[in-house]
Amino acid sequence: MTYSITRFCRIRRDSVQADSVRIKTNTTEDLQKVEFSELYKHVSMEYPKYFKMDAVSKYGIIAAEHLLRGIDLKAKYTETEIGIVLSNASGSLDTDAEFQKTIQNKVNFFPSPAIFVYTLSNIVMGEICIKHKIKGENMFFLSETIQSELLEGFVSDLFNKNSIRCAVVGWVEYSFGKPDVLLLLVENTEQKNINQIEFTSNQIESLYEL
């Protein structure tokens, strides 16, 4: 059984303009300034909590917003039928370093709870689940580079055993100020049309190369 990538969102630092990120979806392509407030304005969402998030969560939320904008998953699926399987290389290391600063100095030792909560690899996934009410299977893998076979294999297994009917799948990496994000919406669509991309490891890799 194969499934379809019905939507995608790719975010990466622009190779020419260092202060910009390139955001591609199946229908749009934008070049935007890296400032988090700019990225927020462009998705026109009302979500003040965004400003409290760490960098990787902000990028995850922005990408998920582009991915799911304008569609009503709730009309097609129950909350527990939607799964999420994400991965990255650095876990939360960028935020780990931020938290370390709050405990590094022994005379000024004030560990910050608001930073600590982001010092786990899977928190970006938790934020996306909260925002989009994704309550099904959820998994977070760590690997040096995107492992398309791992993602495709695990997610297809979840579909095959009827644990989920829809999934947000991808790679949400942020390190040294550089985002590298690919989110896919994977669905079991019986009627194939030309806009759909087959959910295979090769297709994941080609979308990652965009």
Binding site: P48, K52, N108, P113, A114
Partner: protein, 89 residues
Amino acid sequence: MNQLITELKKEIIYQLNLQDITPESIKDDAPLFGEGLGLDSIDVLELIVLLQKKYGIKVNGAEEGKTVFFSVKSMAEYITAKQQQQQQQ
């Protein structure tokens, strides 16, 4: 007291990364949580750290936190009372 209240408003906005909120827009006695500024349990913990770091005051547990952090005014009253206690000792 008024000076402390203004200072606290600025600190809350800065520490909790509140967007599009100015110190003037926070009412002294409006609830910080739920209906008010919409702060959550992690924000309470962060405010506990703020009090300890900036004013050297320790709030014991989230339960005491609920009354202390009800509003900016209750925070200021708590700080003032604690500081007076410390001076007396």
